[in-house]
Amino acid sequence: MLKILKYSFYDLMRSRWSYVYFIFYLLLGFVLLFLNNDVSKAVITLMNIIIVLTPLIGTIFGVMYYYNSREFTELLLAQPINRSKIFMGQYIGISLSLTLSLLLGLGIPFVAYGLFKSAAIFDFSLLLVVGSFLNFIFVALSYNIALSTENKIKGFGYAILMWLFLAVIYDGLFLISLMIFNDYPLDKFSLIATMFNPIDLSRILILLKLDISALLGYTGAVFRKFFGTNVGMLISMFILILWVVFPVFRINRKLRKKDF
């Protein structure tokens, strides 16, 4: 598996898109720091971007890589290697190269600006951890979609829809349900509904670590009580891990019956 991982990783590291992605984050980091002139403020703006963008890029890269390397995967499948090792190698290769672009692209400007002397270092690292999780989650989800869909265009469409649903539509439905069931106690419901969407979970996890959570009002207090504590933090991290484990598990199950 490590060999496949290595080659997928090198292959991606040499593709133009990895650099575009890396340079994008690099520029973003510098621009935000110069505009805000303050690390903690830059972290907030960055959060809004990362939480929507990393899932999108992860989704697109995952689907693209799967479909583009289909013939090559067939060549690998004819070699004496276990099927699931091939796909796990590819999956980890993509996720790692995206994560590296994220970490380096944002890490360099923030370190250059004096992150280590700033109080925001913890928030910033949390942001990077969550961003990396989102990479792993969405590459796994998109691999699931690609594995289940033979047609490239359809697979691409479903993957984008999945991203759109989790990044935008889910929140809309969530808000509508909060409005409709306004008369009922909703704190448990909203807590649980958050768990079912990795993007929401990541957003709230970071928001509550930042000082702006007071803006969230009553529900914010409930969330704060939950996520603000170490236990809540651990539980949310655990759920993010589950969000990686389940899709990966399904990839392996799907592979057992898949024809190439």
Partner: protein, 235 residues
């Protein structure tokens, strides 16, 4: 050496292999023929473990191959369409496959034979279809395995490369290896094959030597003899 027993495979409503039985002895060149969509590639992919049959048994050297992968160390496969990661160079790809398969390999002789020396440091994405097929052939023949499976090996090759390929196939046969070849080019079959396996409607319609086929169809020309077999499907 290879045995298929009562093999069934369907993709949705389309039945491709319908209770196919076939056994292939060790040594010699076997041409797998049949009209388009008759299940040639599916049959090969079942043997390779890429397509999972609905029902049936496949044995390779008297061991079942289903859900296993170790047996693939003893076979080489040339896929129909050669498409490689565009960002790797030819030599990197060759080294990668060598790395994945820790086994004796003799790629330098083959690289020379197909005149690929100048392409070694070029990226695979920039190669023409024929050159890619040559790389594909190098990757297939560089390992020493008992069984060699070639799916449409002649696609895109220029006449010189084609002659080299045919020589290569003959050489491997002389070493006592088993070769399975699918192709639509009858002159290749006529020149190389010891035995023909003709697939139709997901079953073996004919198996035997070229002579036997000519006799059975009352036709002296192989191309017409095969056309004769296929036309029964259209009738």
């Amino acid at each position: 050496m290879i045995e298929f027993k009562n093999l069934h495979k369907s993709f949705g409503k389309l039945t491709v292999l319908d209770g196919l039985d076939l056994s292939i002895k060790k040594g010699g060149i076997f041409a797998i023929l049949g009209p388009n969509g008759s299940g040639k590639t599916t049959l090969i992919k079942c043997l390779l473990g890429m397509v999972i049959p609905n029902k049936g048994e496949i044995n390779f050297n008297n061991k079942s191959v289903l859900k296993k992968w170790e047996y693939r160390d003893n076979l080489n496969y040339l896929p129909q369409i050669a498409n490689f990661p565009p960002n790797l160079t030819v030599i990197e790809l060759i080294n990668m496959v060598k790395n994945l398969r820790p086994k004796e390999s003799e790629e330098s002789k083959l690289i020379k034979l197909f005149g690929l020396e100048d392409f070694l440091n070029k990226k695979l994405g920039n190669l023409s279809g024929g050159t890619k097929q040559k790389v594909n052939i190098v990757l297939t023949f560089m390992f020493d395995s008992e069984l060699i499976i070639l799916d449409e090996p002649t696609t895109g090759l220029d006449p010189i490369a084609l002659i080299h390929l045919k020589e290569l196939i003959q050489e491997e046969k002389a070493k006592g290896k088993t070769l399975l070849i699918t192709t639509h080019i009858m002159s290749v079959v006529d020149e190389l094959a010891d035995e023909i396996v003709f697939l139709l409607d997901g079953r073996i319609y004919f198996k035997g030597s070229i002579e036997a086929l000519k006799k059975q169809t009352n036709n002296n020309n192989l191309e017409h003899a095969i056309a004769n077999l296929i036309s029964k499907q259209y009738a």
